[in-house]
């Protein structure tokens, strides 16, 4: 029985599922004598047609690893990734090459993600050469079309990447990703390296492109405000595990997981008055060593509501009022919140020191 079965469809899943990630596990061999680093530890979520899902987490949460594993740029230990019902993880080499047409990626660093020796026509044209086998003139027509679509002039077709600014390069990377009409685009911290106003331009562009082409987007980011804006649903992960998933509106207004609550509370609000008034939850300590995770909930070492049960049992994903799922004992074994958000708890719980092992 996998994590996603046996659950009402309304909870954490999309209406018309396009991409389904189920119980994904990815690990790396640690350096030297260090043990295995379990980067992704049973992550499941779904992405609907023409939907944008945000995947948020801090560094070391495994969010980028999820994206790369879906793309099969790194091997997964176990789990399933289905695109339109077709399993991606078991595809053979040539099938995989063909399937890569449907899932594309935009990377964080707009500078290293393009071969400096190629002109824009070749950068954007590469997927067309490789996948579509287009003739040169046909290809260049399509490249010009794509440039236009991402807000660049087709006069730039023979220019080199070094001539463009970071934001412009990211537009080129988006054009490259869209070249073969993919079904899904994975954006891995695609706007993190940009200034705020450039960031907004790119986000607006992505929304326009989604409206035009109906492409689905998995938006991986650490910036909560950006995810709040672009994603209809959000998946919050911590140390390779899903803590909470659900409609962005609900999560951002009434987080059900203590980690999501703390994460949101930590984001400074650009308003001095609110900033002075608001009570912040400042998490103590730092994430534990990823080679030596707690048996139970990975968040137990920093959680202010931690109970004894949290230390040795990982809670199941449980439905929450207002939509979505949360993996927290407060919802199941603890003071019964009956599927409500954390604000309902009302009491200021003292953090307990989890048993060390």
């Amino acid at each position: 029985m996998t994590a996603l079965e046996n659950r009402e469809p309304a909870a954490g899943s999309a209406a018309d599922t396009l991409l389904r990630v189920d119980d994904l596990h990815v690990s790396f061999k640690g350096r030297g004598r260090a043990r295995k680093v379990r980067a992704v530890n049973g992550v499941s979520f779904e992405l609907g047609r023409s939907e944008t899902v945000g995947l948020v987490g801090e560094s070391g949460s495994g969010k980028s690893t999820v994206g790369r594993a879906i793309m099969r740029l790194i091997p997964a230990d176990s789990g399933r990734v289905q695109l339109d019902g077709r399993e991606l993880l078991s595809l053979g080499r040539s099938e995989l090459r063909a399937a890569r047409k449907d899932v594309q990626m935009v990377f964080q660093d707009p500078y290293s993600s393009m071969n400096p020796a190629m002109v824009v026509a070749d950068v954007i044209g590469e997927p067309l050469d490789v996948q579509a086998g287009m003739g040169r003139s046909e290809r260049n027509t399509r490249v010009a079309e794509l440039l236009e679509a991402v807000g660049l002039s087709q006069r730039h077709i023979e220019r080199y990447p070094y001539e463009f600014s970071g934001g412009q390069r990211q537009r080129i990377a988006i054009a490259r990703a869209l070249a073969n009409h993919p079904k899904v685009v994975i954006l891995d911290e695609a706007v993190s390296a940009l200034d705020v106003s450039t960031q907004n331009q790119i986000i607006n562009l992505l929304e326009d492109l989604q409206a035009e082409t109906g492409v689905s987007m998995l938006f991986i980011a650490h910036d909560l405000a950006v995810v709040r804006h672009i994603a209809r649903r959000t998946v919050v992960i911590y140390l390779g595990q899903v803590m909470e998933v659900g409609p962005s509106e609900r999560i951002f207004e009434h987080p059900a997981h203590p980690y999501a609550e703390a994460l949101l509370s930590a984001v400074p609000v650009p308003n001095p008055e609110i900033q002075r008034r608001r009570e912040r939850v400042v998490l103590r300590g730092e994430p534990p060593d990823p080679t030596n995770l707690p048996l139970g909930c990975p968040f137990v070492t920093r959680c202010r509501y931690a109970m004894d049960v949290c230390a040795d049992t990982m809670p199941e994903l449980t439905p929450v009022d207002g939509g979505g799922l949360v993996a927290c004992h407060l919802q199941t074994a603890g003071p019964n919140l009956a599927g409500r958000s954390l604000d309902a708890l009302g009491v200021e719980a003292e953090p307990i020191v989890p048993p060390t092992r």
């Binding site: 890569r100 490789v130 006069r155």
Partner: protein, 316 residues
């Protein structure tokens, strides 16, 4: 203020949204000049490197002198002149003569052929023996990498000149054997360089981006890896040519390279050294020639490196 507006100017988020919408496609790009290809950018930067230009000019002149040695040389390089043994520079013999009365200038010109050719030979051998294992080690990694790298480490434990001498000892003295030895000594250095470059390029996101498109491995190697390691390799080839000249000169000086009466600059130095008590001047021209050539290869290499774009300068 005089022009103060009576009607309030609309302000706030809506204005900015509309403003951004109006300027959506206005992406500034410096279009004052035509786009330059990587090669054109390289050439433009290279032409600004005065020492490198000087070095290149010098090397071209030396190569021409070597090519046209029969036309330029005032005497037959092997012709003895018993009336002029170990003479100093004079109108007849601009650079004097050696102990057999042979004209030093003529021998220098013919020696340039030998020295240059030997350097090219040694570096070509080193490239053939080094680049392929380096590519394999860098691209395949795992045990291939381990084996190849261990082998290069072992070879590099030998002092280079000593290893060359040992190889000459086995194969017997002679220019080709000497250059083969120098090539073998150099090969592991090229192997390591190429491996490092390949590893560096492999880490780049653009390789990952290309893989994610579904680009087959051979195309990645051809379109992404090779173009990005070629330029740093050229830099090293230029430097290696200098070192090979030094190595040839050393082996010939020790009597393990070129066989008499053929001349190379190292062999000329040996003859000059043997007669140093009678005429010290003869030691100057071949030494200066070697030094200037090596210097030129080094300056050229530095110049090429400095002309490469920042983005492909890694690893050099």
């Amino acid at each position: 203020m005089a022009d103060r507006a009576d009607v309030a100017v609309p302000t706030g988020p809506e204005v900015w949204r509309r403003h951004a919408q109006d300027h959506r496609v206005e992406q500034s790009l410096d279009e004052s000049s035509a786009p330059l290809s990587a090669r054109a950018r390289f050439l433009r930067r290279f032409l600004q490197q005065r020492p490198a230009i000087g070095a290149l000019t010098f090397l071209v002149l030396i190569v021409l002198a070597a090519l046209f040695a029969p036309l330029l040389a005032p005497y037959d390089p092997d012709q003895n002149d018993i009336r002029n043994l170990l003479s100093g520079p004079s109108g007849d013999h601009w650079l004097g003569t050696d102990h057999l009365g042979r004209d030093t200038l003529s021998r220098m010109l013919y020696g340039a052929r030998v020295s240059l050719l030997a350097a090219v030979q040694a570096v070509s051998i080193a490239l053939v023996l080094g680049v392929v294992p380096g590519l394999l080690a860098g691209f395949f990694g795992r045990w291939v990498d381990v084996v190849i790298m261990r082998a290069t480490e072992t070879i590099m434990t030998f002092p280079p000149l000593l290893l060359a001498i040992a190889i000459v000892a086995v194969r017997g003295p002679g220019l080709f054997n000497a250059m083969l030895a120098v090539g073998v000594v150099f090969a592991p250095r090229f192997a390591r360089l190429v491996r490092g470059l390949v590893l560096g390029v492999r880490e780049e996101t653009f390789i990952e981006a290309s893989r994610s498109i579904g680009t087959p491995a051979h195309r990645i190697l051809r379109r992404h890896v090779l173009p990005n390691i070629l330029s740093p390799l050229v830099v090293q080839i230029s430097l290696a040519l200098g070192f090979a000249m030094l190595a040839e000169a050393a082996l010939s000086f020790l009597g393990l390279g070129v066989r008499p009466p053929e001349a190379s600059w190292g062999a000329l130095l040996q003859v000059a050294y043997n007669n140093i008590n009678r005429n010290s001047f003869q030691a100057i021209p071949p030494g200066v020639a070697i030094m200037l050539c090596v210097l030129a290869f080094n300056l050229l290499g530095d110049g090429i490196r400095d002309s490469l774009g920042k983005e492909i300068r890694r690893g050099t």
